[in-house]
């Protein structure tokens, strides 16, 4: 397995360029190829679960000289999410993307984005992380504007400007660290920072990283691109962006930098928690007032990432566990919600909740899945969102943050309110006259929705079976900076 580790980037990257050579007439073949590539990747990740952590030295260059790839439980968790959501979104897009032209380019960009995200989560080199981050985000700029309509291009443009600002700042941060310590290897950097103490240049770089990655992860006040970008993208891409991109490029990068490279400090703890609470509250308040289905969902992504950030910032074992669990659950239910909104748009041609109604009668599969996802995100038992929110709230109360716990609970309630609104106007009620003849989505799309809905239920109920092997060891990895340094440098710091 160790020898195959670079394939997580190599396969999607290779496929992305390879399929561009195919003519349009062979679209079906291309679909088979990308599906097989994704299935292989998924099988590889599943084989990686429970594997001992290891590092892979590219070209046998020993760190800190060469680029190191690191496999530990937190990267495995992210890889798993990327590939589950990736595979299912891909299957969904086979039918869905018939609304657009040049499907092959779409698949190419899609695979490029997967390659970028996989690279971000497996690399052990901070500049390399930046490169993969750019691969993932630049392909996502293109995908957001894929429809080439006025609105989509505008969203893509805004996303690109704000994204480039954040990328520049991240690069500046990397440059500062490199100038100070003369190394780019994250473990080596951590070692140097431990040895020299956290000085002002490190803190300055940390500020740049939190802002830069915070923008990719849509933390308020750096969130403004997301409510335009996520709704404009085709539904499977919205699912990828909200489901995994903001996590891999935002939350994951912050976890790595803050916990493993710089080390968690009290001031960082306060900053991350404030960002989290702010995102949670502002996101949900903006979501409640929306009538555009996808825009509403996009604001909820901000709010839900706030939950994750509160847990990460809390820095207690239970808090981090809750955050990682919520990160995983959010990948499932938010992807499902975006795919449902896509299915509704596919059948009815609208995203405006006011123009829908009574869809349960015509689209039972989509409506039931949407209902399940709504209950999951609102934190209603027995669905997954309930469990992870519960852990975060318990962690907050344990740390005696009663006020923040109350805010968290309140946000959960407002989430419920806004999804009651979604259900009231889309699923229930009377079918409008002009939607009398709509049909349920094709079987493949419906199957994807059902799989996600089942995941939403099982990832809550089956926690005893996977909690330990997937989440709790990922949490232990996050907390243990020493172990990470040891893993890469293979010396005792």
């Amino acid at each position: 397995m160790q020898q195959l580790y670079p394939l997580f980037v190599a396969i999607p990257l290779g496929v992305a360029f390879l399929i561009l050579l195919f003519p349009k007439s062979l679209t079906k073949l291309v679909e088979v190829i990308v599906a097989i590539a994704e299935i292989i990747l998924l099988i590889m990740v599943i084989a990686l679960i429970g594997h001992e952590p290891f590092s892979y030295f590219i070209g046998k260059w020993i760190p800190p000289i060469g680029i190191t790839l690191v496999s530990d439980s937190i990267s495995t968790l992210l890889l798993l999410l990327i590939n589950i959501v990736g595979l299912l979104s891909l299957l969904y897009s086979f039918k869905y993307m018939e609304m657009y032209t040049s499907k092959i380019r779409f698949y190419s960009l899609f695979m490029l984005m997967v390659a970028g995200m996989s690279g971000v989560v497996i690399t052990g080199d901070i500049f390399n992380l930046f490169v993969f981050l750019e691969i993932a985000t630049i392909s996502s700029y293109a995908l957001v504007g894929f429809g080439c309509e006025h609105e989509e291009l505008e969203a893509s443009f805004k996303y690109m400007i704000l994204g480039s600002v954040s990328s520049t700042l991240i690069l500046l941060g990397i440059a500062i660290l490199y100038a100070t310590f003369g190394t780019l290897n994250m473990a080596d950097l951590a070692n140097s920072i431990l040895a020299n103490g956290i000085n002002r240049s490190v803190l300055f770089a940390e500020g740049l990283f939190i802002m830069g990655f915070g923008l990719k992860g849509a933390m308020v006040p750096f969130h403004a691109w997301l409510p335009d970008a996520h709704p404009s993208a085709p539904a499977p891409i919205s699912a990828m962006l909200s489901g995994v991109l903001i996590k891999a490029c935002g939350i994951y990068a912050i976890i790595r930098v803050v916990y493993h490279v710089i080390g968690m400090t009290n001031i960082t703890h306060i900053i991350l928690m404030s960002l989290g609470v702010l995102s949670m509250v502002v996101g949900v308040l903006l979501a409640v007032g929306q009538w555009d289905f996808k825009r509403l969902l996009a604001y909820h992504s901000i709010s839900q990432m706030g939950y994750v950030m509160v847990g990460i910032g809390l820095a207690t074992p239970l808090g981090i566990l809750g955050a990682l669990f919520h990160l995983m659950n959010h990948a499932f239910f938010k992807s499902l919600l975006f795919l449902c909104s896509g299915a509704v748009e596919y059948s009815t041609g609208t995203r405006n909740l006011k123009e829908m109604g009574g869809l349960f009668k015509r689209m039972p599969v989509t409506s039931s899945s949407c209902s399940i996802a709504s209950l999951s995100i609102s934190g209603i038992p027995p669905f997954n969102g309930f469990w992870s929110k519960l852990l975060i709230i318990i962690a907050l109360v344990q740390a005696e943050y009663y006020a923040i716990a109350a805010v968290t609970v309140g946000v959960s309630f407002l989430t419920l309110v806004s999804f009651i609104k979604v259900q009231r106007y889309s699923i229930f009620g009377d079918l409008p006259e002009k939607l009398k003849n709509i049909k349920e989505v094709p079987v493949l799309m419906g199957t994807v929705l059902v799989i996600f809905a089942v995941l939403c239920l099982l990832s809550g109920l089956l926690y005893p079976f996977f909690g330990n092997t997937l989440l709790e060891i990922a949490r232990d990895t996050v907390i243990d900076q020493q172990k990470y340094i040891q893993l890469v440098l293979q010396v005792v710091p």
């Binding site: 400007i161 704000l162 500020g207 923008l215 001031i267 344990q398 106007y425």
Partner: protein, 608 residues
């Protein structure tokens, strides 16, 4: 498997089968529903006398937190269990008949059974975590059941989910705080004195959860909202019966076992109870729709239960719990009666009904009995439990609340006179001659419930002795038990006297028949009664109240829902949302400046 889990198992399993099975053969669906509910009821009956048994296992452990599912059968829980499963049977039988000739979602029957399952979970839970799970699932199931109704059901269902959802998240927060502070969620192991600010907050969270479920002011407004559009059997099942049982069961639990309540919180409950009684009965008086009228009474009656339990005395708590059972019986009888009326007449608007007594005799008799019971007429069950509550209010020396309770009772009678008159007497509604009588599955549940109203009234000492006193005696010193027993009004003797009075009255009436009589034409104000004059309708009498000075404005606001917590919250929320939205003007430079300002603040904090 532990026999304690049989009721949960049977109802859950049959629910699952029904959930998977497509509803092609109505007979099979009905059979399976009734069979599941009956098995649940029988296995609950088999548990009588076995209180104290428990079952449970640890589900999973996260760090040092153990999520476990502990079931135990307390005497209070047994009482809840028996009535929950009993209502499950009643509603399954009734629904089979009610939906024989109308459309309903195929998920209706499994959701009804699952509601029974999770409700059993609540009353047999020995673990607040398990209780919370079941509590929230009842809310979700209620939401979907309401959505199966017609018309504006989606809006009403949304409103009820919002109000109940708010109370559910508060309950969750309270439970988490208890968990962290006391290290256990075992209900039998908790006795928390309400002293500090934190414990008071937790108690209030729990109180809001119970009041919202049961439907007391100010978290009541979902019940009137769903009354007209939700399927009527669902109204009879959940807001009228099960939600009351669950809410008041949990209210009893937090007062008797989980918390030691302080005096000021008792007063709070008494005030909530009294306000609930008066305000909602006033609203009920002016309603023109049978179901909406009943729903306001469903709120009003909760006031009595809260009053009883709020007193904290043994008599009061017994009265509150007994009233909960009695209310479930007569209110679900009334709602089922209105469902029969709706099924046959096609409407529940009081102005369009009339003269149905002949056509629907069983419904008529059952509804009259239930109406008398809810109005607290002796010797029916409602009088008995109200009497206990009055006594407890006298005991704790709170005459104001006593007056409020009795005044509410009088107004209840006034509004049910209107109901009975408008629906069953007066000139027959058009089309009523073609209506069919109620069949077995519609009639039998009504008659059973009405019979229970009489039995629990006349022979009230039986449920007192075997269900209620055992349920609460553990929480009180032994010396309180005989005091409570003394408080019992002896209904059997009184019934004999009342019957004797009726017989004498009948004799006088018969004697009068033999005397000479004069027959005259009907006349109004001296002039002869002609067809030009419209028949006088029951509801019109009550318009006087709306026009009464001082009440007019209050009624207008009440009808508009100005004080409704749902609307108030919505308005405040909207202001917040709109001001935030105004900030998002879509201009890139605004967004960029946020980023730069944010970065500036970050760097300032970090590098200072």
């Amino acid at each position: 498997m532990n026999e304690l889990l049989y009721p949960v198992f049977f109802t859950g399993l049959f629910g699952l089968v029904l959930f998977i099975l497509p509803r092609r053969i109505p007979f099979l669906t009905n059979f399976l529903t009734i069979a599941g509910a009956l098995l649940g009821f029988i296995s609950a009956l088999a548990l009588i006398g076995k209180s104290g048994i428990s079952a449970g296992w640890e589900w999973f452990t996260v760090d040092n937190l153990t999520f476990s599912l502990d079931f135990t059968l307390t005497r209070l829980g047994l009482m809840g269990l028996l009535f929950i499963t009993f209502f499950g049977v009643i509603i399954s039988v009734f629904s089979a008949g009610y939906y024989a000739n109308r459309e309903i979602s195929r998920f209706y029957f499994p959701f009804i059974l699952w509601t029974v399952t999770v409700s059993i979970g609540i009353v047999t839970a020995d673990n607040l975590f398990l209780l919370l799970l079941c509590w929230e699932v009842t809310t979700v199931l209620l939401y979907y059941l309401i959505n199966m109704g017609k018309g504006t059901a989606n809006a009403a269902a949304g409103k009820s989910f919002v109000i109940l959802g708010l109370s559910d998240v508060l309950l969750l927060l309270g439970i988490v705080i208890i968990w962290v502070q006391y290290g256990t969620l075992r209900i039998s192991a908790l006795t928390i004195p309400v002293e500090s600010g934190l414990t008071t907050a937790v108690f209030i969270f729990f109180l809001v959860a119970t009041l919202a479920k049961a439907g007391a002011i100010p978290v009541h407004s979902w019940i009137p909202a769903i009354s007209e559009s939700a399927p009527t059997p669902v109204m009879a099942f959940l807001p009228a019966a099960l939600d009351k049982l669950l809410g008041i069961y949990f209210l009893g639990l937090i007062n008797l076992s989980i918390f030691k309540v302080s005096h000021s919180l008792s007063m709070l409950m008494l005030i909530i109870g009294a306000v609930t009684i008066i305000v909602s009965v006033m609203m009920a008086l002016i309603q023109h729709n049978l179901k909406k009228l009943l729903s306001f009474h469903a709120v009003s009656q909760v006031g009595y239960m809260v009053l009883g339990i709020g007193t904290g005395t043994m008599v009061g708590v017994i009265g509150g719990l007994f009233h909960m059972i009695n209310h479930a019986i007569y209110k679900s009888c009334l709602f089922l009666g209105s469902a029969v009326v709706e099924n046959r007449a096609g409407t529940t608007a009081l102005d369009k009904l009339g003269g149905l007594a002949r056509i629907l005799p069983y419904t008529f008799i059952s509804m009259v009995i239930a109406s008398l019971a809810i109005s607290g007429i002796p010797p029916l069950n409602g009088f008995f439990s109200k009497w206990l509550i009055y006594q407890s209010l006298v005991d704790i020396n709170q005459p104001i609340f006593l007056v409020a309770a009795m005044f509410g009772s009088a107004l209840t009678l006034a509004s049910f006179v209107k109901v009975i008159h408008s629906v069953f007497f007066g000139s027959p509604a058009p089309g009523s001659e073609k209506m069919k009588k109620e069949g077995f599955s519609l009639g039998a549940p009504l008659v059973v419930l009405a019979a229970l109203c009489i039995i629990f009234g006349v022979f009230a000492s039986l449920p007192m002795k075997y269900l209620l006193i055992p349920a609460v005696e553990g929480s009180y010193p032994q010396s309180a038990v005989p005091v409570a027993s003394d408080a019992i009004w002896d209904p059997t003797l009184a019934t004999g006297l009342i019957l004797a009075g009726l017989v004498i009255g009948m004799l006088i009436f018969l004697l009068g028949k033999f005397l000479t009589k004069r027959q005259a034409e009907v006349f109004v104000g001296g002039s002869e009664f002609s067809d030009r004059l419209k028949p006088v309708h029951g509801t019109d009498f009550y318009n006087t109240i709306i026009d009464m000075g001082g009440l007019k404005g209050a009624y207008r606001d009440g009808e508009k829902g100005t004080f409704d917590i749902y609307n108030l919250g919505g308005r405040i929320g909207n202001i917040l949302v709109q001001s935030l939205r105004a900030l998002h003007n879509g201009v890139l430079s605004t967004y960029l400046s946020w980023c730069i300002i944010g970065l500036g603040i970050l760097l300032f904090i970090l590098v200072r």
